[in-house]
Structure formats: structure tokens, C-alpha cells
């Protein structure tokens, strides 16, 4: 296991997340894709911390921090999504275009 392998893995994860974000039309799916991308970033943090940093704790702390923030973000986002679903009975982003123009 080298740094390169880890980076490739996180790149693939990021790609999947991005792909999902772009292809998905369902808000929850998009949210999950965002999570995947964030995890890819976390993975980078950890791997750089493990392989090249003098002190591995900084990277780990950072990723834990990200995970915590993500959790909060998720809570808020899901709340919004739920209320949105109640209002519109749909979570298709194609239809959520109130802000265009």
C-alpha cells in the first residue's frame, strides 16, 4: 500500500461522487454523492497524514472535524429536504427551478 494507491482510491471515490452528483436528479441521491466526495477528501487527509506528515494526528483530527461538520450539515440538509418534500411532493432537481433567472 503506497500513497499513490490511496490517492487513486480517493480519486475514484471523488469521481464516483462527482458523477453521482451530476447524474442524480433526486436530492437525497445528490446528498449521498456529496458525502462520497467529502469522504474522498477525508481519505486524502488521512493518507497524506499517514505517509508524509511528521505528526499523523493533525490529518486525523482534521478528518474527524470534517466528519463532525458533515454530520451537522447532513442534519440540516435532510431537514430542508424533508420540508421541501412536504411542500412539493417531489425531490427532483429538474423541477426545483424557482431560483432560475
Amino acid at each position: 500500500m503506497t500513497l499513490m494507491n490511496c490517492l487513486i482510491l480517493s480519486f475514484i471515490l471523488f469521481g464516483i461522487g462527482l458523477w453521482g452528483l451530476m447524474r442524480r436528479r433526486h436530492l437525497v441521491g445528490m446528498l449521498i454523492s456529496t458525502e462520497i466526495m467529502l469522504n474522498a477528501a477525508n481519505m486524502n487527509f488521512i493518507s497524506f497524514a499517514y505517509f508524509s506528515a511528521k505528526d499523523a494526528t493533525a490529518g486525523s483530527v482534521f478528518s474527524i472535524f470534517v466528519i463532525a461538520v458533515t454530520a451537522c450539515e447532513m442534519a440540516v440538509a435532510l431537514a430542508i429536504i424533508v420540508s421541501m418534500y412536504r411542500r412539493r411532493k417531489s425531490l427532483d432537481v429538474e423541477q426545483l427551478r424557482d431560483l432560475h433567472d
Partner: protein, 651 residues
């Protein structure tokens, strides 16, 4: 020399006071009060003017020029200032007396003429505004002051012609008069600007003392062409003359004067015959040494004057509206005055008799023409029409008027010893002495025409059988207020010629000239005899045609079954129509329409294009704001990739 300057202030302040008091306070409340106030004030002004004249001519100072007072108005540079002042010399004193005298009489006359008019008070106010402006013009010490009052007489003329503003014909006549004179004035102003730029002064004294040779070597770029300053001065002179050209209604800017007869008759008599229209002649006389510098300017003045003289006299022979006949007669007489000034130059030398003759004619003409207009007003007031058709047989009903009319008509015809004879004779003599033989012949011919159309008017109005119901029914009478001024004016119409001859010959010279003068003048004692003979022949022709027992008055007044030449003349050579066509089709329909087209289509069109362009650009950008998350994200990713892999983007 003149001890009492304060009296000269009165001449100007009195009419101004009348204008302010009548215009703002008295006019609306009491027409009688306004009239009385106007008469008293104008009387005071007249007396002051006469006192000034007496003290000037008896002081021994005449004929020198003097500036009696001068108030600063506007300064353009240290020595380049426009002041308002009073220049006294024989010419201006003569005009002051004439203007105040006639204004006084016309104010009295208006009491009768305007009685019962809705806006009598306003009338007296405006009349005094005119007197004030005219006096200011006459008193001018410099071109700038002259232009100021020149415009003011123009506007008071406008207001008085359009006095009955509910009459569309009066309104359009007033507009025409103002615009046409304004058109001439724009050239006048340009002339003033050019001349004052070259001379760096407005003062008549400096301008009259110019010599062209001093400016021969300097050039000036007038934009359209480059010329020497001497040429620019000549051009400026012509432009200044153009102002007088329009104000004195010389051909082809003459049409406003006959149309101006739409105004009340007292107005016609003071403004459009006796005083304002001679302003053009006065201007040329005032700047005579300046104009005399250039032979071509003088020739222009002469040709314009002489042509107008004949042209107007011909038209006057066919008209039926008595005020228009008098208007054309005024034009013709103005032509005499104008050409007399222009005829002074002969080759490189100048004879000054024409100047004297012209000013002399201004003087005599003012009285008899004013009187004629007042008489015409009297007739109109009694018969309620301007048309000769409805007159005739007024001799018995208005005997005093009849006698006064005869005197004035004999005066204008140049029959001795009436006043017109003396001045007209001098003018004709000038043309002869200046070797302008064509003009001389025309002047003699016009003298005959004048007699003819004036007696035509006289016979058709006063002689024969009455042609109007009111005359037949005997409603016609002589009004005291209207007949009094007419009777008073008969005196100078009769006597001002021989009474003032000595005065004019002694004092009236144009001032120092910078061109050689001709001293040896050809004497021609036969001219008066010829002129009088022509007049008498014309009188006889008129009598045969219109007053003899065999005369066919119906035929004379018929304007429909006529030959084409008569019709063309009767319709004033169709000049009104030509003007109408030019203004309507060319100015308003052509230039103005093109200007509006440029504004409404080209400029607004370019503007609309700019707006469209911005809008389109905006909608392009707006389309990107689709609200589609996927699209945003994709753009983001593509953007980041491009930035990363293609390196330096321009932003």
C-alpha cells in the same frame, strides 16, 4: 452746452413709467385713467424733447455730437463696453422730437379709436412701451444699445399688431412681422459681432471714424472663408444693413408691413409708418460714414431702396384696402429715404446732400404719413371696413378730415408748398447729382405713381356717391378725440417743409467722413418743375379715372374682371404665397422635418440598437442562470479542469 441733463431723462422715463403703471396697475382698473395718464406722461416727454431740441440748437453747439449721459450696462473688456446712453446730434434730436410728438398725438387719437375696447388699458401700456423702446433706439450711443432697443421695438410692434389676439389674421400677421424682422436681426447681430470683434468697440463714434486701409493687412478666418479685416468690415456693414433692410421692410422682406395693418390703426400710424419702420433708414444714416467706406455697400443700399420704391408704388395703385395702400405708400417712401442714402456715393467720392435729404424726408414723412393713417383710421371707425368698396362720398360728412387729408396727400405727392415737396425734391436731386440716372428716372416715375395712387384713394374715399349704408344713413360723424390730432398734424404736414428747410440745410450733415467728398455739385433747377409737372399730370389722370363726371367707379373697384398684369399686381406679385410656400414647404416641411427625422429615427434608432444589444447580451447571460444544478456543477467541473490543465486562462 446743454445745461439741463435731467430733462433728457424725462423723455425716456415718462413713457417707461406709463408702461409700468398702465401695464401693471392702472390698465385693468380704469381705461379712462390709463388714457389720461398716458397722454399726460407722453405730453411731458414731448415737452422735454422740445426743450432739449431748443436748447441744443440755440446753444451753438450743433451740429456736433455729444453724449449727454451714459449708464454702464455690460462690460466685455476694459475698453470694450456696452452702455446705455443718449447721443445728441441733430439727427437724434429730430427723431426724439418726432417720436414724442407723434406718440403724444396718437395717444390722444387712441382715446377715440379704442373707446370701448376690452383691453384699452393694455393698449396704452403697450403704446408707451413702444415709445420708450423707439426713443431708446434713437438715443443709442452704440450698436449694442441700438440692438437692444431694436429688438424691443420689434416686440412691441409684435404685441401691438397682434393686439386683437382673437383675430387669427392679426395673430399670424404679428408672427410674420416679428419673425421676418427677427430673421433680418439675426444678420444684424452677426454684423455687430463681426464689426465689434474687429474694432473692439460698439461705439458709433469709433466705428464711424474707421478707415479700411488700417485693416487691409490683417486677415480673419470667418470659418466659411478667410478674408482681410477690411473685407470683414465691409461684410459686417452689409450684415448690419440687413437689419435695417428687414426693419424698414425693403424688398424682398417687405411683406410683413402691409400685413401688419391688421393691427389697430393708431399702431399702424405710429409704428408702421412714422417711426419704427424708419429705424432702418435711421441706422444707415447713423452709421453713414461707416457705410460710405465701401462703394458696393452703398450701391446695395441704393438698389434695394430704389427697387422697393417703385415696386411698392406699383402695387399701391391697385389695392382696395385703404390701410394697405398707405402701407405700400410707406414702403415706397422708405425706399426714397433708403436710396437717397445709398445714392450719396459716386465712384470714390461722396456727396452728402443725400444724407440731408433722407433725414429731411424722415422728418416730413412722419407727419403727413401719420396724419394719413389717422385719417384712414377715422374713416374705418366710421364705415367699419377698410375697403374702398364701402366708402365714397365722405367729403360732406367729414369736412375737417377731408381738408386734412387733402393737405397730407398734396404733401406726399410733392406739390409745393406742402412739406413733402421739399424733401422729395432734395432726394431726386441727390440721385441726379450722384449721376445715378436710372434711379433718378425711377424716382421721378414713382413720384408720379405716388400722386396717382394717393389721389385714387382720396377720390374713391371722399368723392362720388356714398357706397355704404352707414354713410347713406348719416351715422357718420367726426369724433373729437380723433379729429383733433389729425387737425394738429395738418400743420406740420403743410408747413414742416419750408419751416425746417433752413434747419436741415444748416445742421444736418452726416459727420466727419473718411472718404473724399465731392464739393462741386451739379445744379439742376429744372428738376422741381419736372417733378411737379409729373405729379400734376398724375393727379389729372387720377381725377379723370376716379372723380370726373365720366369716371366709372365700379370699373375702378372691380378686381375680378381684370387683365392678368393687373391681377398679378393686385395680388402683390404673389409674394405672400411665395413666402408661405418657402416657410411651409422648405423650412417646416423640409429642414424641420429632416431634423426631427434625425432625432426620432436615427438617434433614437441608434439608442434602441444599444438597448437591444445590452438586452440580448443580458438574455444570453440569463440563459446560463437556468436554475439547473447539474448544469452549474458541470460548468464548475469543466471550468476547474480547464483551469488546471490548460494553465493560464486570461482571468
Amino acid at each position: 452746452m446743454i445745461n439741463d441733463v435731467s430733462i433728457s431723462y424725462l423723455i425716456f422715463l415718462m413713457p417707461l413709467l406709463t408702461f409700468v403703471v398702465n401695464g401693471l396697475f392702472l390698465g385693468k382698473r380704469s381705461a379712462k385713467g390709463a388714457a389720461a395718464f398716458a397722454i399726460v406722461c407722453n405730453g411731458i416727454a414731448m415737452v422735454s424733447a422740445l426743450l432739449l431740441a431748443v436748447s441744443y440748437f440755440t446753444s451753438g453747439y450743433a451740429p456736433q455730437k455729444a453724449i449727454l449721459f451714459e449708464l454702464p450696462f455690460l462690460k466685455f473688456a476694459e475698453t470694450f463696453a456696452a452702455n446705455i446712453g443718449l447721443l445728441v446730434d441733430p439727427l437724434s434730436i429730430m427723431m426724439l422730437v418726432v417720436v414724442t410728438f407723434i406718440a403724444f398725438l396718437v395717444n390722444i387719437y387712441s382715446v377715440g379709436y379704442m373707446r370701448g375696447d376690452r383691453a384699452e388699458g393694455r393698449f396704452f401700456a403697450l403704446l408707451s412701451l413702444f415709445s420708450f423702446s423707439m426713443l431708446g433706439l434713437v438715443a443709442a450711443t452704440n450698436l449694442f444699445q441700438m440692438f437692444i432697443f431694436w429688438e424691443l421695438v420689434g416686440v412691441s410692434s409684435y404685441l401691438l399688431i397682434g393686439f386683437w389676439y382673437h383675430k387669427p389674421s392679426a395673430v399670424s400677421a404679428s408672427k410674420q412681422a416679428f419673425i421676418l424682422t427677427r430673421f433680418a436681426d439675426s444678420f444684424f447681430l452677426l454684423g455687430i459681432v463681426i464689426v465689434s470683434f474687429v474694432v473692439q468697440s460698439f461705439d458709433f463714434e469709433k466705428i464711424n471714424a474707421l478707415t479700411l486701409s488700417a485693416f487691409q493687412s490683417q486677415t480673419i478666418d470667418l470659418g466659411f472663408m478667410v478674408m482681410t479685416k477690411a473685407e470683414a468690415l465691409v461684410l459686417g456693414g452689409v450684415l448690419i444693413f440687413t437689419g435695417g433692410w428687414g426693419k424698414s421692410a425693403m424688398f424682398p422682406m417687405h411683406i410683413w408691413l402691409p400685413n401688419a395693418m391688421e393691427g389697430p390703426t393708431p399702431v399702424s400710424s405710429i409704428i408702421h409708418s412714422a417711426t419704427m419702420v424708419v429705424a432702418g433708414v435711421y441706422l444707415v444714416a447713423r452709421l453713414f460714414p461707416f457705410f460710405a467706406l465701401s462703394g458696393s455697400t452703398m450701391n446695395l443700399i441704393m438698389v434695394v431702396g430704389a427697387f422697393t420704391m417703385v415696386f411698392a408704388a406699383v402695387i399701391a395703385c391697385t389695392q382696395k384696402d385703404i390701410k394697405r395702400i398707405l402701407a405700400y405708400s410707406t414702403l415706397s417712401q422708405l425706399g426714397y429715404m433708403m436710396f437717397s442714402l445709398g445714392a450719396c456715393r459716386m465712384g470714390d467720392v461722396v456727396v452728402t446732400t443725400g444724407w440731408t435729404a433722407s433725414t429731411y424726408h424722415i422728418f416730413t414723412h412722419a407727419f403727413f404719413k401719420c396724419s394719413l393713417f389717422l385719417i384712414a383710421g377715422s374713416l374705418i371707425h366710421q364705415v367699419h371696413t377698410n375697403d374702398l368698396d364701402a366708402m365714397g362720398g365722405l367729403r360732406k360728412k367729414m369736412p375737417l378730415t377731408y381738408v386734412c387729408a387733402l393737405i397730407s396727400i398734396l404733401a406726399i405727392s410733392g406739390i409745393p408748398p406742402f412739406s413733402g415737396f421739399f424733401s422729395k425734391d432734395e432726394i431726386i436731386l441727390t440721385a441726379f447729382q450722384g449721376h445715378h440716372y436710372v434711379v433718378f428716372g425711377l424716382a421721378l416715375l414713382t413720384s408720379g405713381l405716388t400722386t396717382f395712387y394717393m389721389f385714387r384713394l382720396f377720390f374713391l374715399a371722399f368723392h362720388g356717391a356714398p357706397r355704404s349704408e352707414s354713410v347713406k344713413a348719416g351715422h357718420v360723424h367726426e369724433d373729437f378725440f380723433m379729429t383733433l390730432p389729425i387737425a394738429i398734424l395738418a400743420v406740420p404736414a403743410l408747413a414742416s417743409g419750408f419751416a425746417a428747410k433752413g434747419l436741415f440745410e444748416e445742421f444736418f450733415v452726416p459727420g466727419k467722413l473718411n472718404v473724399p467728398q465731392l464739393v462741386q455739385l451739379a445744379e439742376a433747377h429744372w428738376i422741381p418743375y419736372v417733378a411737379v409737372a409729373i405729379a400734376v399730370v398724375a393727379l389729372l389722370i387720377a381725377w379723370v379715372l376716379y372723380a370726373s363726371p365720366k369716371a366709372k367707379v365700379e370699373r375702378a373697384l372691380d378686381d375680378i374682371n381684370r387683365g392678368s398684369v393687373y391681377k398679378v399686381i393686385y395680388h402683390k406679385f404673389y409674394f405672400d404665397e411665395m413666402y408661405y410656400a418657402v416657410v411651409r414647404q422648405f423650412v417646416i416641411g423640409g429642414i424641420a422635418r429632416a431634423a426631427r427625422f434625425i432625432q426620432d429615427y436615427i438617434i433614437e434608432g441608434i439608442l434602441a440598437f444599444v438597448v437591444w444589444f445590452v438586452h440580448t447580451l443580458g438574455s444570453l447571460v440569463r440563459r446560463a442562470q437556468s436554475g439547473n444544478l447539474t448544469f452549474y456543477l458541470g460548468t464548475l467541473v469543466v471550468g476547474v479542469l480547464l483551469w488546471r490543465f490548460f494553465g493560464q486562462l486570461p482571468f
